[in-house]
């Protein structure tokens, strides 16, 4: 019996985060092909509302959310609470913030 869902990490090729300037962290989820990209897009698991829920942030902190066809990628950007390197910032480069995306469950396509 096939599982009803799989974690995003089993589907995406790349899941990463990084500073976009000093006031934002941007997230890239890149898929290996059109099929998996379209499937995750359609699932809504990485929709603007869904990613705000994952990080527990208000919709206003999500500054960009783009489905970028040339790279089969879903990309979104959040505003930092304060600039990178402000006292207490634990991720100067923003490079570990992607971790909560790894285990997001993506429902399997119907018929699989």
């Amino acid at each position: 019996m096939s599982p009803a869902s799989r974690p995003l990490s089993a589907i995406a090729k790349t899941i990463r985060s990084k500073n976009a300037g000093v006031d934002h962290i941007t997230f890239d989820v890149i898929f290996p092909d059109r099929t998996s990209y379209d499937h995750v897009r359609a699932s809504g698991a990485l929709s603007p509302a869904a990613v705000c829920r994952v990080f527990g942030i208000a919709r206003t902190r999500l500054t960009d959310h783009v489905e970028f066809d040339p790279a089969f990628a879903i990309k979104f950007t959040i505003a930092r609470e304060s600039g990178s390197g402000t006292l207490g910032d634990g991720d100067l480069f923003g490079s570990q913030h992607y971790a909560p995306l790894i285990d997001i469950q993506i429902p399997e396509p119907a018929g699989n």
Partner: protein
Amino acid sequence: MKTATLPNRGLRILCPNGHLGFAPSRRGSFDHGIEASPDIVACDSGSCDIGPVPLGMDGTASPLSWQRHDVEMMLLGARPRGLPVIIGSAGDTGTDSRVDRFVDLVQDIAREHKLPRFKLGYFYSEVSRETVRAKMAAGGTIAGLPGRADLTDAELDATDRIVAVAGVHPYIKLMDMGADVIIGGRSSDCAIFAAPAIRKGYPEALAYYFGKVMECASFCAEPYGGKESILGEITMDDVRVTAMLPEQRCTVASVAGHAMYERANPYYEHFVGGHIDMRDCVYEQLDERTTRVTGPRYVPATDLRVKLEGSGKVGERYVGLVGIRDPYTVQRVDEVIAWARRMVQERFGSEGYQLSYNVYGRDGVMGMLEPLRDKPGHELCVVVQAVAPTREMAEEICIMGTRQMFYARLPDVKGTAGGVAFLLDEVMPASPAYRWTLNHTMPIDDPMEPFRVHMTKAGV
């Protein structure tokens, strides 16, 4: 600047590193790149990723020996073949002192290796507080980039050092003056590559895209592997980018994927004088290791603005480390921290210093954005940072904020001989704390206005 452009081909630039000096460039792919007959060797050496401390202190995030390694590799690859070398955002921050340091490095290396004499151009990007204040006094708005308020006098007063981010203009100016090697102050990464292309007459849209795709070296290739060289070629019709490490390829996926890297939005790249719109870019695989890109558009700015980066000192800093293993205490770490804060407050009051606790094993990396904050691990490391006007005060607050965790009074704790574990019975001095005070744009009348170009010589 002489560029040995052959007929029927475009301008080729070899880029060995996405941030020169931050980690040493890899040698093998650079040698392959030199054999592929580039016209120019170029890269950038700076980033605001390293946080506000190096800019504020006018320091650097990378060892001089690594910077020397990369500059030497580029010069020795390029100069015996008569190829120009361009390095932007010198020494991590692109401040005046970092430009001077790189100019010295180039002269040292040229002398040591008896490189034939060449013209060494450089420019400074630092902007004084007085310059910015005068702009504001004359009615110019120093506009905050998204998420930042416009600059106030108070925030400017809190700033220690400011750099303006150059576009292509100072590079083109220095090439016009005959520079063979250019050391740039703080610059847009893409300008370093776009400048020679624009000067040669290639379309601005392609030239800026060329810079955009080249600036992180092998980050636009796959499989993942930084610090390897890539070769880019711009023609009147397209941009082509090729991985120089035999194991890497520039694919449609890797090049398109890189268009997104480190930017809020994958479609736009802004610089002094305008932006490029990449919404209609077309990516094609040209051969196994080369991808071809067409279709970026150039949109000139309606008003001329330059980006400013500024850093201001918050105070002197000490750091303490605390371990917690008792599961009861792990669950009540916030109470332990509150106790230590209260002890500090009793002695120092609640203002005039800052005390910060990162709880690793719970939410030390992501803070309030951590979805698993309520599921701490079986042991925690708490990093305590104290920031105060003097080192003495910062040290004392840090000791108290760290050591008082040992004495926290939890109601039902079994261990009554000390509530936490110490790695060291001391606190450690760290760099002073700084913060980004400027991430703004300033109106200018001329794209060269904040930048000062100079020419000297190197070699024998």
